[in-house]
Amino acid sequence: MSDKQVISLSINGVTGEVFAPSDSTLLDVLRDDLGLHAAKRGCNQGVCGACTVMIDGVPMRSCLTMAGACEDHEVKTLEGYIQDPLMNSLQEAMIASGGVQCGFCTSGVLITARNLIEEKPDAAAEEMRTALSGNLCRCTGYVRIVEAIAKAAKEVVV
């Protein structure tokens, strides 16, 4: 239990070291060591998607990523997107649409959705639904989340 190790990480553009238990996942380090709470622990099995973060520009599950394997990789969490115009329009669209209910899945949804818009801004609703299928939401029924993504994507295309 006392087996800790120094892990050097780059998170939201800041590079630093944490001294964390050696079997920590990236999610453990983000939440427990760094106080970055946007990524949530919903299942710790990679299913619910609430812990989704960007690693080297690709959305991944922080709960399935060993922190020790993240050295030399760029991690970005929702907290790192404060000034990001695309994320900001997605956030505004989510606020307006009703796509936010309890909010526990929201961070993960935003990370996945932003990446989708970036990769495929003209995605049809069905493609959005497929792309989002790894982010479980128990509240909304997904209709307003899809609506918000479509709205934000449209702003990008225009």
Binding site: M1, D3, Q5, P21, S22, D23, T25, N44, Q45, G46, G49, T52, V58, P59, M60, R61, C63, L64, T65, M66, A67, G68, A69, E71, T112, L116, T130, A131, S133, G134, N135
Partner: protein
């Protein structure tokens, strides 16, 4: 306590695994870290394969295709190399879990874990794939049929790593992967990989036993008769007769036994109609 080590060549990786029997190779993490989180495995170390040259990507040479073990499901799903009778492999990769997990999971990890319901197993069986394995004694190659032994049991020896999948060159043919799952992204309740080239059909059924079901005999008997519903029925029933499914939360053994002939027949009819 699961220290992560990151060797830069395969020899170092397998030597480390040989020296540390409680260490586990870590590829994408999609299954292994989930198991660690659930307390199902304990590892002294995770030996990350991320920085080992030559494990990532799909290459083509005279002998055929080589898919590096660290190639992500996402890249396999999008590969331009997987055409014709290999297209089903891309289709299967594209149906694993979900988009985010496909960014992480690797074919080597999935084949190494060898969950009987995993999407790769029937398509690789149907494609006559070979598994490239690297251990302390160096590399070896084994057919997928011989690689898969029993429920979660493979020919992998302790300390060995799946480093690649080898495939013959794609044939001008059609192939399809049909997956039945409770929800998109779930493990298969049952799955059928089907390839058809000319008059010959190859079929492998997944998630209905310890390993995919395929019968060379039945395929030979069906050759040239793929327009005959009675022959298809005999073929499909013969695969069901070889199945040894379990009851689990995805469906009963009985359901799977009833599904096999229906799904196999539908797969053959679809691929036939598509010609």
């Amino acid at each position: 306590m699961s220290f992560v080590v990151v060797p830069t060549n395969i020899e170092d990786a397998v030597r480390f695994l040989a020296d540390n029997p409680e260490a586990r190779p870590l590829s994408g993490g999609a299954s292994l870290v989930a198991m660690k989180n659930a307390g199902l495995i304990e590892a002294s170390h995770f030996v990350s394969l991320a920085r080992i040259e030559g494990l990532n990507g799909i290459s083509v040479d005279e002998g055929g295709l080589r898919i590096g073990g660290m190639t992500r499901h996402r890249d396999i799903a999008a590969s331009a190399h997987l055409t014709g009778d290999l297209a089903m492999i891309a289709q299967a990769a594209g149906q694993i879990a979900n988009r985010v997990v496909r960014n992480m999971g690797t074919i080597g990890g999935a084949v190494g874990n060898a969950d009987p319901a995993a999407d790769y197993l029937p398509v690789l069986t149907c494609a006559d794939a070979d598994v490239e394995i690297y251990g302390a004694d160096g590399p070896r190659r084994i057919s997928i049929e011989h690689y898969l032994i029993d429920w979660y049991e493979t020919a992998l020896e302790p300390g060995e790593i799946v480093t690649a999948i080898h495939l013959p060159h794609p044939k001008e043919a059609r192939s399809n992967y049909h997956k039945l799952a409770r929800t998109p992204g779930d493990y298969a309740t049952a799955s059928v990989a089907c390839a058809m080239d000319g008059k010959r059909v190859r079929v492998a059924v997944g998630a209905c036993g310890p390993k995919p079901i395929r019968s060379a005999e039945a395929e030979a008997a069906l050759e040239g008769q793929i327009a005959d519903p009675a022959a298809i029925r005999i073929f499909a029933d013969s695969l069901a007769a070889l199945a040894d499914p379990m009851d689990d939360v995805r469906g009963s053994s009985d359901y799977r036994l009833r599904l096999i002939p229906r799904m196999v027949t539908a797969a053959i009819n679809e691929i036939r109609g598509a010609h």
